[in-house]
């Protein structure tokens, strides 16, 4: 079965005067049609760079140095820019944390949306406008005809993010990469957007990669999850498997850091120490300096150990899955 997206051994490095930063290091995962895949990690884990690498938006000094990015079976990792431009926006779209990264502040919404439609298809302006209007309606923007004539600053933060999602949907892309799109929004607005996005993946069969630091959002939204730490996927699998029976100590620590899991007022188990500098990662398992289970063997690179089908981790001393 060919999924919508299959990433194999992706490595993206940044060269700086201080040395090479392995922002993404041998990352592999797959997303099927209509499926939501959560990419979880803390700041500096490489989750956003993974997203940027897939859509070909890594700027120098960053470079995809190894791996394949199979989009509908075709490797797009080393595609020349003109070819990528044909994919971007039409087949693969990205939604950013800050909708103003998508929107031009001095152009009306209709100008921007019609331009986005006509960039990939030869259609009349009237048809492009009609399509834009429908896309706004789809993401739940009231009175879309009127709102098309507005400027970005006339929208609230939540509405702006909806416009950015509507633009991503214009061409019914097969894959949407969403990089923390609801992190800056209020709970009630976040819930509205999650509701829309969930419906879209279900109804349109769009594959979705949802990049976030928030395990709770992933729990409610995603089918599968990959947990990143210091550039590597340390654990992946179905949401239920990973969140209920984490195998990697980092995943377990992350889950233990979420306040609602522990009874009130008790100390959170959490994780000691802090994320090491990406310039100076420990040799072997990058987590070993914070890990209670680490031994001498952890100073060698942990390979990807397959567990059950669709489940894998990178730990020499995985936590044993307790049967539910």
């Amino acid at each position: 079965m060919t999924g919508t997206l299959e990433v194999r051994g992706l490595s993206t490095h940044f060269t700086s005067r201080a040395g090479v930063v392995r922002a993404v290091d041998d990352v592999s995962f797959a997303v099927q049609r209509g499926e939501v895949m959560g990419l979880v990690g803390e700041s500096g884990s490489g989750k956003s760079v993974t997203g940027f690498s897939i859509i070909g938006l890594v700027d120098p000094p960053g470079r995809v140095v190894a791996g394949q990015i199979l989009f509908q079976g075709r490797d797009i990792a080393r595609l020349p820019e003109p070819e990528l431009r044909k994919l971007r926006g039409r087949h693969i779209a990205m939604v950013f944390q800050d909708p103003m990264m998508t929107l031009n502040p001095v152009l009306r919404i209709d100008t921007q949306m019609i331009e986005a439609v006509q960039a990939h298809e030869t259609v009349s302006t009237a048809a492009a406008r009609a399509r834009s209007r429908n896309a706004l309606g789809l993401v739940g923007i009231p009175s879309p005809d009127e709102r098309l004539r507005a400027y970005p600053h006339q929208f609230s933060g939540g509405m702006r993010q909806r416009v950015a999602i509507a633009i991503a949907l214009l061409h019914r892309p097969e894959l949407i990469l969403a990089d923390e799109p609801t992190t800056a929004l209020d709970v009630t607005i976040q819930a509205q957007i999650l509701a829309e996005v969930q419906g879209l993946a279900r109804d349109l069969g769009t594959a979705l990669v949802w990049i976030t630091h928030d395990l709770s959002v992933i729990a409610g939204l995603a089918d599968h999850v990959a947990v990143m730490y210091a550039g590597r996927i340390v654990e992946k699998g179905s949401v239920d498997a990973v969140l209920d029976h984490p195998l990697h100590p980092y995943t377990a620590g992350l889950i233990g850091s979420v306040p609602s899991r522990t009874p009130r007022g008790e100390r959170l188990p959490g994780i000691p120490g802090m994320t090491p500098s990406v310039l100076n990662l420990p040799v072997g398992c990058a987590f070993r300096t914070r890990c209670a289970r680490a031994t001498a063997v952890c100073e060698t690179d942990p390979p990807e150990f397959p567990a059950e089908p669709g489940r894998a981790h990178r730990c020499f001393h995985p936590l044993v899955a307790v049967p539910a």
């Binding site: 009630t188 819930a191 928030d214 729990a219 949401v239 609602s260 899991r261 009130r264 959170l268 802090m274």
Partner: protein
């Protein structure tokens, strides 16, 4: 729960804060012209906090929850004495802060300290850690014994290595900076901390460490907290009592278990229903309709009525009072006396 028998540590009585929208040049011109024609324009006023009553007992942790623009930060700033209220009284241990003589007012202010959201913006980048932490206690003559030893003790209590005192803020990570902010607040020996989204900017694992520190300090120093957050999980974990605000008004307040088990106000119910939870899998998100209205033109009556599924005629006319519906549980909703 602590019984508020003695005077509460902090009490707000009918406190309001109004801000006037600064007029741009075009607005000023319109005002001048209309003023000359005898039809003056009313200035635009935001009621960031609208007649709020709140008491926090000694040793209590009160969580203040709400979405952006609900006035929770402004309320926290008034409690901390950073922003004076437009109306109403702020009482510290039973005494109105506004009527205290300057020396006593300064003492009262010193006892209430604030911890801010952004550990990057709240530390002076040009001062060394020893100055950031030690300056205030030195000025207020709180240091007995050597200065360095005092600063070291403060840092150690906040979980920082005293070897770092000569460093500047940019040499620290976000979590460490937040610890510096905590050390600075505790250095003047307060008994009340206002934490305004103090863990919101931190990574999940670092957030857990800082929350643990807050709980340890509470036990160690017998601190009282007003913990402001939009994150209900954090508030549920830390607080004895929860206060929920919507557009400048308190809509509900109750002991933590009570709020989470029996939310009364429709807004609280919606808010609780929509919080993503780690044990709620592939749920179907449903959302309250509409957006938070502009605080410049809040809806009349109950501010929540345009989004409320249970609203009836009275809700758009009359402001509901915050009434006790169970011991310690207050809610401002007309449905309760329908």
């Amino acid at each position: 729960m602590t019984t508020p028998m003695p005077a509460p540590m902090i009490e707000l009585r009918g406190v309001s804060k109004r801000f006037e929208k600064a007029a741009d040049s075009a607005t000023r011109l319109v005002r001048r012209v209309r003023g000359a024609l005898g039809a003056p324009v009313q200035p635009q006023i935001v009621r960031a906090v609208d007649r709020v009553d709140l008491a926090v007992a000694r040793g209590e942790v009160v969580g203040l929850v709400g979405e952006s623009g609900c006035g929770k930060s402004t309320l926290g700033r008034m409690v901390a004495g950073i922003a004076p209220p437009s109306d109403g009284q702020v009482l510290y241990q039973g005494q109105d802060v506004a009527t205290l003589d300057p020396a006593a007012a300064r003492q009262a202010k010193l006892r209430v300290q604030m911890i801010f959201q952004d550990p990057y913006a709240s530390l002076n980048p040009r001062l060394r850690v020893s100055e950031i932490v030690g300056e205030a206690p030195r000025v207020h003559r709180l240091i007995q014994g050597p200065y360095d030893a005092y600063v070291d003790a403060q840092l150690r209590r906040a979980g920082l290595d005293p070897a770092y005192t000569r460093r500047y803020p940019h040499q620290f990570s976000g979590g460490q900076r937040q610890r510096i902010g905590i050390a600075r607040a505790l250095a003047v020996q307060p008994d009340f901390l206002v934490c305004d989204e103090a863990v919101a900017a931190l990574d999940v694992s670092i957030q857990a460490q800082i929350l643990n520190l807050f709980m340890d300090l509470r036990r160690e120093l017998d601190l009282t907290y007003l913990f402001i957050s939009h994150d209900l999980g954090v508030v549920e974990h830390l607080s004895d009592r929860v206060v929920i605000m919507y557009l400048g008004r308190v809509v509900e307040q109750a002991p933590t278990e009570e709020v989470f088990a029996r939310p009364n106000h429709p807004y609280t119910q919606a808010l609780l229903a929509e919080v993503p939870r780690i044990d709620a899998r592939r749920r179907r998100f449903t959302a309250i309709k509409g957006e938070i209205p502009s605080p410049l033109a809040p809806p009349p009556g109950c501010h929540f009525h345009p989004r409320c599924p249970h609203a009836f005629a009275r809700c758009s006319v009359e402001v509901p009072a915050l009434l006790e519906i169970a011991p310690g549980h207050r809610s401002a909703c007309h449905l309760n006396d329908r």
